[in-house]
Symmetry: C2
Subunit: 467 residues, 2 copies
């Protein structure tokens, strides 16, 4: 692939695998053209490109050229670009705009992205902005912004398409056409009664293949899948994935339609959820922003809690060693195998925990499968332990003689079995107690396996070596 | 919430949070009604329900009632249900059906799911099935089944909707209506020339709001985002997420349209990818099937490789300890802090690695951000190390006196800093070498941190205690 040398040459290339270099190149070109006063070339280029790419280029630019480039776009595109920017960049854009300009752009934004942006503004900026918005926009903003982070209400959007049950299919098609510009999606329409209660959903596909005289109520799905605005976000993501939905309707406690969650927003929620689970499984606290934007203090706080807790956990391992000081002093060769044995229990345990946490998260395994899987895990752990014991037996003879080899091999089998059972059981126990199984992985398993490993190793050593 | 007592009472309930009990209840009811010969009630119930749910209930039933229940559904629903079943269950269904019945159902399946099912059949079953399929279906199957696992071609489907550039918008709408029953989606249509080269995409939304006399070529997006059939699956998932697409067109090397990847298939790919990354980061090899269906041998193989490798890795830690036997024998109290210090380096390192691997995977951080993040990491690690040193200093004085306390505190700061730098750097190094950063986390970081931790601890001890 040859690299483009001017913006006019630049086009989407599925065979390029270095997005970053392209991004950098385009950003530099935009800055150069703007500094030369050639705004027309930049405008022509930007309007022909994907909004997500335009946002990525603006992220690379300094504030002044970024604002200049963005203002070359039509209002609706500006609104979309802002939706793609990182929160930190959105705040810069909002600060650069006068309240009138900001209000105009926000009116054109999709309702959920507008509410997200609004929530980030400080109270003064919020108050300053409100008078420039329409009554309906103000109310919509206040309503969406009121939902707690992590709930469906906080990710849903209110710009959905609705139909009335008594419409004919041709009236319905006309109604969707009229809503097509503003609605987040028109591929699924929501049928509401006079009190805005959700009574059905209808896909545009089913509407298109219906006969022109049929009524919406006859062809709609009258028992739609929906979710409550107060439910957890992951519930919406789970339903969209399970039922392969384009969008999921959201109702309040009285079954009134209050919003929808789209599949692409659900993908973002699922990604956040995975990140959260990965952090939980590895001694990291929640981090409110992206790692790149996080401050030193935020990262320190997210990391110190578990690290200090594990310091105290490891004190128990130390106490275990101290309890066997005499045995160790008499057989210093035992120390050679100490890191190996305690690490092996932790490693086998972490494997089991990782498998079980992931299987529980994807729904592949359910809490009631525990019994059936336990027997299998014992067999696997025995096989793993015996293989590893064979591997260390040779080293045991060489470093400490046949007696040490027996101790180390025996301890290996016992410790791997114990580690695997802890790693497998903890996620199930957490699930049964209605806590997140992800919190059971990594550190907790390793710490438990470490302490028990030390005690088992030296107990076996004492028994075998001192008879 | 009150539980339903008959199938007729059963309906979707957004406020129930125990899917499993509902699933179990419905499966038992279906089995009971079938054993009483009341097939009509079962049929009425099943056709009114979501396909994904029907599949979940069939999974709970024994083979005979499951087959009986499935055959109560219309052909098209049967085809869809099979697409939702786990691969192991699909094989049971295929084995239960005669080749004629199987061919009929497979003709009704979506093309990608049909190809997936076909690939799982053994060679004899494949040969037996082919004559019962149409010529076009045979060719489609062979073509889709030929793509290597992990490529876009292996997840794409060939039942997409196409339009010709010279059509008017009303002709285009008619054409989509005609393709609506068979196409995987009609919300995005693909415009191809006479040689099937992809020359544009058009959303149904844009088609609906266009004027009736406009031509497709005037309103289509003539520079569509697309992907090659030979590219990696994750590339398709990444593009769909980045550009918020409903479906992504797939072209061969000559830019001819050969398939599409839909957003819901991309979600499945993204989930698999996350699972793969999590496994890589925790000493697990690839597991071809679900954990629940995996055999003991499969799980043993996926786990033993790294465990034995780590045995040899930990031998180095043991050798490190052996090298300091004299120092240890003279100050046995040092052993008390050994598990603590080596674990702390590993824990801090794993945190850094987890943060960086995830940030690189989501695109939040790019390989060239390394320099900027390194300085921040040093400051955070120093802050973490100092806090942890303060926590152990007290215990150091109590267990071993002031000299040991100095050794342990000093070692803690050095080891945490070293662990954090290893954990942060490895993912970046892997990314630079074009290897998957996920492989750099957990075990590798911990092993490196362990060996270096042992050496640093006892080196500091020797210097401080023997002057």
């Amino acid at each position: 692939m040859t690299r483009p040398t001017t913006l006019a040459d630049f086009r989407y290339d599925p065979d390029s695998d270095d997005d970053f270099i392209d991004t950098k190149f385009v950003a530099i070109e935009i800055a150069r053209l703007l500094s030369e006063g050639d705004t027309q070339s930049v405008a022509d280029f930007l309007v022909s490109q994907e909004i997500a790419d335009v946002a990525a280029w603006l992220e690379e630019l300094d504030t002044a050229p970024a604002m200049q480039a963005m203002r070359l776009l039509p209002l609706h595109d500006q609104a979309e670009v802002i939706g793609y920017l990182r929160p930190a960049s959105q705040m810069i854009v909002a600060a650069q705009m006068g309240r009138r300009e900001l209000a105009r752009v926000m009116s054109a934004m999709s309702h959920d992205e507008r509410a997200d942006l609004f929530k980030q503004l400080d109270a003064d900026a919020q108050e300053a902005l409100l008078p420039s918005l329409s009554q309906a926009e103000r109310e919509d903003l206040r309503r969406l912004a009121a939902f707690e982070e992590g709930t469906v209400g906080a990710v849903m959007t209110s710009d959905y398409a609705t139909l009335r049950p008594e419409m004919t299919t041709s009236e319905a098609l006309e109604a969707l056409r009229a809503q097509a510009v503003d609605a987040e999606t028109i591929y699924t329409a929501y049928i509401v009664d006079a009190g805005r209660a959700l009574i059905g959903v209808l896909s545009l596909r089913d509407l298109l293949i219906a006969r022109p005289r049929q009524k919406v109520v006859e062809i709609m799905d009258g028992e739609p899948i929906y979710v409550r605005a107060e439910a957890e976000q992951e519930e919406a993501a789970r339903l969209i994935a399970r039922y392969d939905l384009i969008a999921l309707p959201v109702c309040d406690a009285d079954d009134r339609l209050v919003g929808i969650v789209t599949a692409d927003d659900a993908m973002d929620v699922a990604e956040e959820e995975v990140t959260e689970d990965i952090y939980k499984g590895s001694t990291l606290g929640p981090i409110e922003t992206s790692v790149k934007d996080a401050t030193i203090v935020m990262l320190y706080k997210a990391r110190i809690y578990w690290l200090v807790l594990l310091v105290f956990g490891n004190i128990f391992s130390g106490a275990g060693i101290a309890a066997f000081e005499e045995t160790i002093a008499a057989h210093l060769a035992l120390l050679f195998f100490l890191p190996l044995l305690i690490a092996s229990g932790g490693n086998a345990g972490t494997q089991s925990a990782t498998l079980m946490v992931r299987a529980l998260a994807t729904g592949d395994v359910r809490p009631m499968d525990f019994g059936r899987l336990l027997g299998r895990e014992v067999l696997i752990a025995l096989a793993l332990g015996l293989t590893m014991a064979a591997a260390v037996a040779v080293i045991g003879v060489w470093r400490g003689g046949p007696e040490i080899a027996v101790v180390v091999s025996l301890a290996m089998v016992v410790i791997v079995l114990m580690g695997a059972l802890i790693g497998m059981s903890l996620p199930f126990i957490f699930a049964r107690l209605d806590r997140d199984p992800a919190a059971a992985s990594g550190p907790l398993v390793t710490s438990l396996a470490d302490v028990l490993g030390v005690v088992m190793y030296f107990s076996i050593a004492r028994v075998v070596l001192e008879i």
